[in-house]
Amino acid sequence: MTTPRPETLAKLTPVLTKRWLSPDAWGIGTYEKLDGYAALRKALRAHPDDLIQLIKDSGLRGRGGAGFPTGLKWGFIPQGDGKPHYLVVNADEGEPGTCKDLPLMTHDPHSLVEGVIIASYAIRANRAYIYIRGEAVHAARRLRNAVQEAYAKGYLGRNILGSGFDLELVVHSGAGAYICGEETALLDSLEGFRGQPRLRPPFPATHGLYASPTVVNNVGTIASVPYIVLGGADWWRTMGTEKSSGPMIYSLSGRIANPGQFECSMGITLRELIELAGGMQPGHNLKFWTPGGSSTPLLTAEHLDVPLDFEGVAAAGSILGTTATQIFSDQDCPVYATYRWLEFYHHESCGKCTPCREGNYWMVRVYRRILAGQGTHEDLDTLLDTCDNILGRSFCGLGDGATSSVTSSLQYFKQDYLDYIEGRTAPKLSDKQLVGAH
C-alpha cells in the first residue's frame, strides 16, 4: 500500500471520531477526562439565544443528508409560546451504505448525550428523545448506559448542574423500518403509530412531536454541538468549505483496499478519499459510486474530482446525502446493483403514497425480467416513465430516492442494460431466483 500524499493526509480532520481511539471513551470516566461535559458547563452559563447564534455562526448543516442549516432550524422554534418543546435525535441510521452514526454512538455515546443537553437548553426543551434504529443493539446498549451515567452525575434530570434547567432523555428503539429515518415518519413512530410521513407544512418546528414545536436532528449534527461550543464558530469554519463548514465522516465501502470511516474536511474529493483508503483493490477499476447512500444518483469515474460538499455534489447532478460512498468496480454490474436497491425501496416503502408503493413494486419486476434475459427495449422507457411518476409525487423522500439509481444508471450505463436485453450479457438471475426473490 502506498502512503497517501501529505496534502491528502492534511484533509483528515479527526474531531467527532477522535475519542474512538480511547478504548473506554464510551464510559463517563474517560469521557470526562477528554473534555467531556466541559461544553455543557460552558453552555449553561450562556444565554440560550447566544447558543443558537453560535450554531448559526458556525454554519453547521444537518449531517443526516438534507444539509439544512442547524442554527436556523433551532431558531424556528417559537419561544414563549407556552407549549412544551422537544428535541428528537434521528438515530435511525439505515440509508444503504451509511455506517457513521452507529460507530459514533457505540464508541462515544456521551458526545451525543452532551450535545442533546446543550441543544435542548438552547431550544428550551425539557424532554428529549433519541430514536435509535432497532437493529443497532450495541450502540443502544452503550447509549442507554451513557444516559444512566449522565443522570447519576447530575447532567440529566432536575436542575442540571444547578442551572435550573431540567431535562429528561429517553432512548427509544425502533423496530425495523427504514422509513422512520424520515423525520415526520419518525415522529409518528415515536407517537406509537405506523411510521408514515406527514404532509408538510406544518413543519415539525411548530407542529412536531405531539403537535408541539420540535427540532429533529441527526446524530452527527447533535454530536458536533459540544465541539462548536468549546472551540467556537471560527475554529469550526477553519474546516470544510465556505458553505459546507466543518468536518464530515465519510464512510467508504466496497472495492477499495481499506474500507472504513474517514473524518475529513468537507469538500474532499473521491480521488483523495480512495487515496486515503489505500487505492482500489487489485484488479478493480472504479466504475460507479454513490456519494451519499443509495438514494443519491450514481456518479462515475468522471466525477473523481468533484468536491464532496453540499454544493459540489449538487453541481455534479447528485446529492451529498449521508456521505456514504459505496464504491463499485468494473467487476460490478450497475443494473444488478440498482435492482437490489429497488428491492430495498420496494420492501421499505411504507405504502402511504401510491406512486412509491406501486411504482417500486413494478420496477422490481421489470428489473427481474431484464436480469433474467427477458427484457425488452420498451422496458427502459417504462422504467423512466415510472420514475417520472414517482419523483416529486410522494409525501417524502423515500420515493424520490428510489428513482435516483434507476435514472442515473440509465444515464451513464444504458449499454449495460442493452447488453442484457440484446443477449450479450448472460442472465444474472435464473427463473429459480425469480421465484425466490421476495
Partner: protein
C-alpha cells in the same frame, strides 16, 4: 392472559412512565418489544396485552405490530440470524452466504429450523458496509463473513454454543435481546464493555495518528459571544467599514464574518421555494 406475569406488568408500567402522562401511546413500540421478549413473537395475546395496558383496541395495536419488520408474527428460534443481502454486501458475497445458510438449514426467509434454534432472514442494509459482507445474530455483528465462517457460526449455535460476535456484546437469546429493545439496560456483567472498535471504524484515525495530524487552533476556552457583544461587534465592523478599513483581509482560513448567515438565508429561501 396468564402468559404475562406481574413482572411483565411492572415493566410495562415502567415503560409507560417514560413518556408524558397523556401520551402513553408512545410506549407502544417498546411494549411490543416487551411482549416479544416473553413469547418470542408478537402473538394475539401480546397484542391484547398492549391494547389493554394502553387503553387502545386490538386493531390499533395490530396495525402497528404488522408494520415493523422486527416484530415477528410467528414463533422464532433462540437465535435470529440475519444476513445482509442489500447491494454492497450482496456484491461482496452476502447473497452467497444467505443461499448457503438457507440450503444448509433447510429453511427460507423468516423461517425457523425444526429444533427451534435458528430463525433465518435476509436483511436490508445493517449499517456496517465497511465490514461487508456482514450478518448478525440477534442483531450483534459477525463481520466479513463468507459461506464457510457463516456455517461455522450457525453450527456452533445449533450445538448449543455461543460464538463471540466480531463487534458487540456476547450473545444472548432473542427473547433476552427483546428486553433490551424495550429499553432496559443490559444487566449482564461486562456486556456493555464488550466489543472494541474494529479496524475499518478506526481507519481514518489511525492514518491521522500515524502522521501526527490534528485540527489546529482548538481552544476549549473560546468564549461564547453574548448577543450584546455580537451586536456591538457588528456595529464596530460597520463603523470600521465606513472608515475604509474594509480592505483588511480576513485572517487565513477564516471566512468573513456574516458570510455564513447570508448563505443560510439563501439556502432557506431555496428550500422554501422547492416546497
Amino acid at each position: 392472559m396468564t402468559v404475562f406475569t406481574e413482572e411483565t406488568r411492572a415493566r410495562a408500567r415502567e415503560i409507560i412512565a417514560r413518556y408524558p402522562a397523556d401520551r402513553s401511546r408512545s410506549a407502544l413500540l417498546p411494549l411490543l418489544h416487551l411482549v416479544q421478549s416473553v413469547e418470542g413473537y408478537v402473538s394475539p395475546a401480546g397484542v391484547e396485552f398492549c391494547a389493554e395496558v394502553l387503553g387502545l383496541n386490538k386493531a390499533q395495536v395490530g396495525a402497528v405490530a404488522t408494520f415493523y419488520t422486527m416484530y415477528k408474527r410467528k414463533p422464532t428460534g433462540d437465535y435470529l440470524v440475519s444476513v445482509c443481502t442489500n447491494t454492497m454486501c450482496n456484491v461482496l458475497g452476502g447473497q452467497e452466504v444467505y443461499d448457503t445458510l438457507a440450503e444448509h438449514l433447510g429453511v427460507g426467509h423468516d423461517e425457523t429450523t425444526e429444533d427451534g434454534r435458528i430463525t433465518l432472514e435476509h436483511a436490508e442494509c445493517l449499517a456496517a458496509c465497511d465490514y461487508g459482507p456482514v450478518m448478525t445474530v440477534n442483531y450483534d455483528f459477525f463481520d466479513g463473513v463468507d459461506p464457510r465462517t457463516a456455517l461455522g457460526v450457525v453450527e456452533e449455535l445449533r450445538a448449543g454454543g455461543r460464538p463471540m460476535p466480531t463487534r458487540g456484546a456476547r450473545l444472548c437469546s432473542l427473547k433476552e435481546m427483546s428486553v433490551q429493545l424495550a429499553g432496559f439496560a443490559d444487566e449482564r456483567e461486562g456486556a456493555v464493555a464488550d466489543g472494541g472498535p474494529g479496524e475499518p471504524t478506526l481507519r481514518g484515525l489511525r492514518l491521522a495518528e500515524q502522521h501526527g495530524i490534528s485540527v489546529p487552533g482548538f481552544d476549549p476556552n473560546t468564549p461564547i459571544r453574548s448577543k450584546a457583544e455580537a451586536d456591538k461587534a457588528a456595529e464596530q465592523a460597520k463603523a470600521a467599514q465606513a472608515a475604509g478599513a474594509a480592505a483588511n483581509p480576513p485572517a487565513a482560513d477564516r471566512k468573513p464574518a456574516g458570510d455564513g448567515a447570508g448563505a443560510q438565508q439563501r439556502n432557506l429561501k431555496e428550500a422554501e421555494a422547492k416546497k
